[in-house]
């Protein structure tokens, strides 16, 4: 082969854009993949189990732990008095989330004490033996309770443009409504778990199933009164996160570390599933009140909406979560005048937290419901009203927070999906079916997705990586992102392999650890790949810079004539193994290790003024769902789903399709079968998979067509022009909710059914009854 020819021009990427399997796929299959509970524990490891508050509000007046201490296998009991530093696990360090509550009880299930025993079973059994005398207060359980009491965790916050009340009043048509959006339990298959092992000098090594190792590190240090450099947190992988391990993993890691501090022995805590569901935060549930003014054709003139979110007992991440609800209250629609008011209600329930979409899905669900409401009231197909209100056209590109939508491809995506899903023909067929079917009714809906990518807390938009090349040319990769199943590790490894022209298996992916890459943000906001792959690429390029210099010096060949490809380094018309070059570079005292750093460009956000460009770009998509409902029982089946989703130029189509399908099904669960129920005393009644129902295989439509939108790539300068994909697909599932509304409305056209989410059989029946449709 003539090497000279090969060097001309840039070769097509060999590793990125390819459907590579998840890096741990084979180990997942064989059971060899190690999760925190699978780590061989050092001899003498203790097991911790929490004892919890038996009321939702009030005080503990006396905590009798004698029986607990005397129980078999119990070595010690931790109470608030055992905390040497700050008794606070809150992400912002504002002191509103005690690790172990000293006295005041803010929700049913709050940790009162922790048992340390020789076995997990002994610890759990002993935790039941405490006797707590309490002075109960009057709990606020749901949003309404908190609204009545005007109880909030943060001040109200508003986006406003123009005078929506005037526009609504003067519009040809007006309507309004109120509805409820339920929360969601993450149901990561691996529950919360941490193992802490003592080191020298009081140092602490913590294995935690967390999306945010740096935060666990900082909080452990803070609670134990240590410097951050005394605490190392490691996470190789999580058995699912979905936002539920962004801030919620911290408390348990801290408890394990406290166990070590108290006893000097390694300490593990793995929450029982029921305890996990009762004690950790969930997706925020909402009450939404809205008014909208529009033209006779359904063109929106003004929107006035109030979101009231149940935040739970503490602030946690509710600032960012509910802000994102507001950022997505437009879905993909232009509101000429608008007021979006969000209230963050404080209740005596577990503190709600991040969950895939981070508040965005609730904002978007409101928008789709409002559009459906408008469409039914003007008697048009909801798809036509959707299309009429999409961003686009002169002067129709400003979001309610005053950012210009510059990369809008929704009209193209929606039109293409309308065609490929046969929407119009199926709409007609469905009307015929409904006309001749008294019990079963079908509905169809096509809804868009537009999701802003970047953390709206600006400082989180940074990432670090650490890359080593060894003398044999093998590569070690580390970065601040965590792997929870989303395929981050393989995508970043693909980028690194591409940089050095190596096969993927030459890149060793190593566990995320705070002593390798410090001061990281959470793996969240769909931004894991965008941030960490760029940081890793920067690290690779720093090493390559040194290699280029070395090559020039050694062989007098300029960088333009050097390529890293197919496992080789091509230097002018000479080729050598990458390992050979690495060895030579080493012998010539060239550093083969580098850190890399990345910060997202362009973004700005002034929350005070509610203006700026909080998002680097938007990810888009659309879904068309068809359902059948049983109007006697409210049972519902999803018949068919078509999805067209924009991932820019995919880094890994197999991983991206997995995110799209999995996100859709998770969103469908949120809006259909997954119902959280608290009783009036504040006890969660649905605290196990026996009572809380995530989708099973048969809930997934047999006819499930998923396609990636063909585009030239992200218009923003992202890694290989790809787009973030973790969260946006979850919102494709609002098409199922709208399709259910569509089926219900066939019973009594023009009467908007009051359907709350989740659309359980009971909720569907309630909506049917509310339309006044006849009994069976």
């Amino acid at each position: 082969m003539d090497l000279g020819d090969i060097v001309k021009g840039s070769p097509p990427p060999a590793v990125v854009h390819k459907p590579k399997p998840h890096d741990s796929a084979a180990k997942h299959m064989t059971g060899e993949a190690v999760y925190v509970d699978d780590i061989r524990t050092p001899a003498g490891t203790l097991h911790a189990a929490p004892g919890y508050a038996p009321i939702a509000a009030g005080r503990v007046t006396k905590l009798d732990l004698d029986a607990v201490r005397k129980a078999p296998g119990v070595v010690d009991v931790l109470t608030a008095d055992d905390i040497p530093g700050a008794n606070d696990a809150s992400p912002k360090g504002i002191g509103d989330e005690p690790v172990i509550t000293p006295e005041r009880i803010m929700f049913y299930g709050q940790v009162l004490f922790v048992v340390l025993a020789e076995t997990r079973d002994q610890a759990r059994r002993a935790a039941r033996l405490a006797r707590a005398a309490t002075a109960p207060g009057m709990p606020m359980i749901d949003v309404d309770d908190a609204v009545v009491a005007d109880s909030t965790v943060l001040p109200d916050y508003t986006f406003e443009r123009g005078t929506p009340e005037d526009e609504i009043a003067s519009a040809p048509r007006q309507l309004g409504g109120e509805f409820r959006i339920g929360g969601q339990e993450h149901f990561y298959l691996e529950g919360q778990v941490a193992l802490a092992v003592p080191g020298e000098d009081g140092d602490m090594y913590v294995y935690s199933s967390t999306q945010h190792p740096s935060e666990v590190q900082h909080v452990v240090a803070h609670v134990l009164g240590l410097d951050s450099n005394a605490v190392t947190v490691e996470v190789r992988r999580m058995g699912g996160g979905f936002g539920g391990k962004e801030s919620q993993a911290t408390q348990w890691a801290v408890i394990a570390a406290l166990g070590v501090r108290k006893t000097g022995r390694p300490c593990k805590i793995r929450l029982d599933r029921d305890d996990d569901m009762m004690m950790t935060g969930k997706r925020h549930d909402f009450r939404v009140d809205y008014k909208v003014g529009f033209s006779r054709e359904g063109g929106i003139r003004g929107v006035d909406v109030t979101f009231a979110a149940r935040c739970g007992y503490s602030e946690d991440l509710s600032l960012g979560v509910v802000d994102r609800t507001m950022f997505h209250a437009d879905s993909g629609y232009f509101y000429p005048t608008v007021r979006i008011l969000a209230r963050r209600m404080r209740t005596n329930t577990v503190s709600n937290t991040a969950f895939r979409g981070f508040g965005g899905p609730q904002g978007k669900l409101f928008a789709e419901r409002m559009i459906d409401h408008i469409a039914y009231s003007v008697g048009r197909d909801p798809l036509d009203v959707r299309k009429a209100n999409l961003y686009g056209g002169a002067g129709r590109d400003r979001t309610p927070y005053n950012m210009r939508v510059e990369d809008n491809i929704l009209p193209e995506i929606v039109n293409e999906l309308e065609r490929t899903s046969d929407y119009r023909d199926r709409r007609r067929a469905l009307a015929e079916f409904n006309a001749s079917s008294p019990v079963l009714k079908k509905g169809i809906a096509l809804t868009p997705v537009k999701f802003g990518i970047s953390f709206t807390l600006m400082h989180l938009n940074q990432a670090g990586a650490l890359v080593h090349v060894y003398r044999d040319g093998s590569i070690s990769l580390n970065h601040g992102g965590t792997e929870m199943g989303q395929g981050l590790f393989v995508k970043v490894a693909q980028v690194v392999a591409e940089e050095f022209g190596q096969e993927l298996d030459r890149v060793k992916i190593t566990a995320t650890a705070t002593d390798k890459v410090p001061n990281t943000g959470p793996t969240a906001a769909s931004a894991g790949t965008d941030l960490n792959a760029q940081a890793a690429m920067a690290a690779c390029r720093a090493i390559k810079e040194r290699l280029f210099d070395f090559i020039e010096q050694e062989w007098g060949v300029g960088r333009d004539s050097v390529q890293f490809r197919e496992g080789k380094v091509i230097i002018g018309n000479r080729a050598m193994d990458f390992g050979e070059l690495a060895e030579l570079a080493y012998r010539n005292r060239v550093s083969l290790s580098s850190t890399g750093f990345y910060k997202t460009p362009k973004i700005t956000w002034d929350r005070e003024k509610a203006t700026g460009q909080p998002f680097f770009y938007f990810a888009y998509g659309a879904a068309c769902s068809e359902v059948t409902i049983d109007t006697m029982t409210g049972e519902m089946r999803v018949n068919r789903v078509d999805i067209l989703h924009d991932v820019g130029k995919s880094l890994n189509p197999a991983i991206d399709i997995g995110q799209i399908e999995g996100g859709f099904v998770q969103g469908m669960g949120w809006l259909t079968t997954e119902e959280l129920v608290w009783d009036s005393a504040g006890r969660l009644m649905t605290h196990a998979p026996s009572t809380y129902k995530i989708p099973t295989a048969s809930d997934v439509p047999e006819d499930f067509r998923v396609a990636l939108y063909e585009s030239g790539g992200n218009r923003a300068d992202t890694i290989y022009r790809s787009k973030a994909v973790g969260e946006p697909p979850l919102m494709l599932a609002t098409s199922v909710f709208s399709a259910i509304l569509d089926a219900i409305i066939s019973l009594k056209p023009a009467v908007m059914p009051r359907l709350d989410a989740p659309a359980t059989p009971e909720a569907i029946m309630r909506a049917i009854r509310a339309t006044g449709a006849g009994d069976p």
Partner: protein, 490 residues
Amino acid sequence: MRDSIRFIRKGRMVELRDIAPTALLLDYLREVEGSTGTKEGCGEGDCGACTVALGRIRDGKLTYEPVNACIQLLGQVDGCEVVAVEDLADRDGELHPVQAAMHDAHASQCGFCTPGFVMSLFTLYHSGRRAVSRPEVNDWIAGNLCRCTGYRPIVDAAVKVCRSPPTDRFATASADTESLIGFLSDNEDIFIGDSDRFFAAPASIEAAADLYEQHPDATIVAGATDVGLWITKQFRDLPKIIHIGRVRGLDHIGDTGYELLIGAAATYAQVEPFFRELDPDLGELLRRLGSKQVRACGTMGGNVANGSPIGDSPPALIALDATVELRKGRRVRSMPVEEFYIDYGKQNREPGEMVIGLLVPKMNASHIFRCYKVSKRFDQDISSVMGAFRFTVDDDGKISEARLAYGGMAAIPKRAKQAEEALTGTLLRDSRAWSRAFAALREDFSPIGDHRASVRYRNETAHALLGKALIEAAGTASNRTRVVGHRVVA
């Protein structure tokens, strides 16, 4: 008498003498063996992450069944081959065909549920089914929850791997395994422990009944799909366990031509084909009862005996006019299933008396049977309301008898006697009689509201289910009245 349990692991016999009565299979695998591939996701048999395969001889043939190790008593695996996820790949690391198919289909993301899916699909692979459909796979994995993938690639992998007959080393070694299992199978009563604390697995009904009569405070375990949760979730101290899974003949299902005799140790999986033959709705009821894992262990006898107001089989059995057989020592008696239920948590059963079987009358041409289960999720969920209805219609089209039984509507599974009366003697298509029956339902029941359903929804659904049964009985095809469980497959 044997004071140990014996089972097969990785081709070798394991014998354990000192097991706690309530020791669990999952703890043995993870903590004693260190086989951490098998995961705990929920500890109550609902997520399937802990699924392992049990090999045993069924109908003379080596059969692999999936079970939830988290609620399987260790003692229950006596006589079985236990296969866990680590055992599948070759020693040189080559993936098992099921694992390879899953791997190639990108069927794992976080990977935590994956071992459970692999093991469920391993049992499907060995089930003898070929050309499996997606709905069949969905049923097979209804007891495995995945929160990441959305299931599509897992189902793809299952469909693909089941195209050809099994060629793995379990298939190659099946003759050896069968003879090993044969070697382990004996007629010895197992008794481990002392009279205060024991695990017993008698081999005969006499020994089981005598032991229970001596120890009326013991806990009878058939499948442990309920008792397992008493251990993992309620921390009940269960010092005395009598496992009836080894009792010779107690898992037998007999067909006399006019009735089925179902032994108390017969699993749902064993009952399923018989019930499907009685009526398609009964097959559908069992298809949706629990999951493959639960049906592989759980028994209808246990479902009746534990007296839950929301058990799925009792309403059907009551509508079918089934009888329950009880035994205490040498005394055997029987009663209609409906009379077995007295009040919440209270059954017509004496201390030391155990359920040994069920008698289920078959139906004839004059019978019309329907049953429906309404739950938040179709698969592996507990009923909000369940209705089972048997109408006897004479030649004139009159309803001569109506048996309307409900679950979820009272503290016990219960007949709607007043609604039955409103229909009895009326013409099947007499809509005024229907209305009277609907109204009477409100007199028959005053259900409670809970996290599954409100009072109002329960009442409305009880009404709707009877309405549906009558509409269908009057001739409307079920594909026009139901979203799932159509009686006629197109």
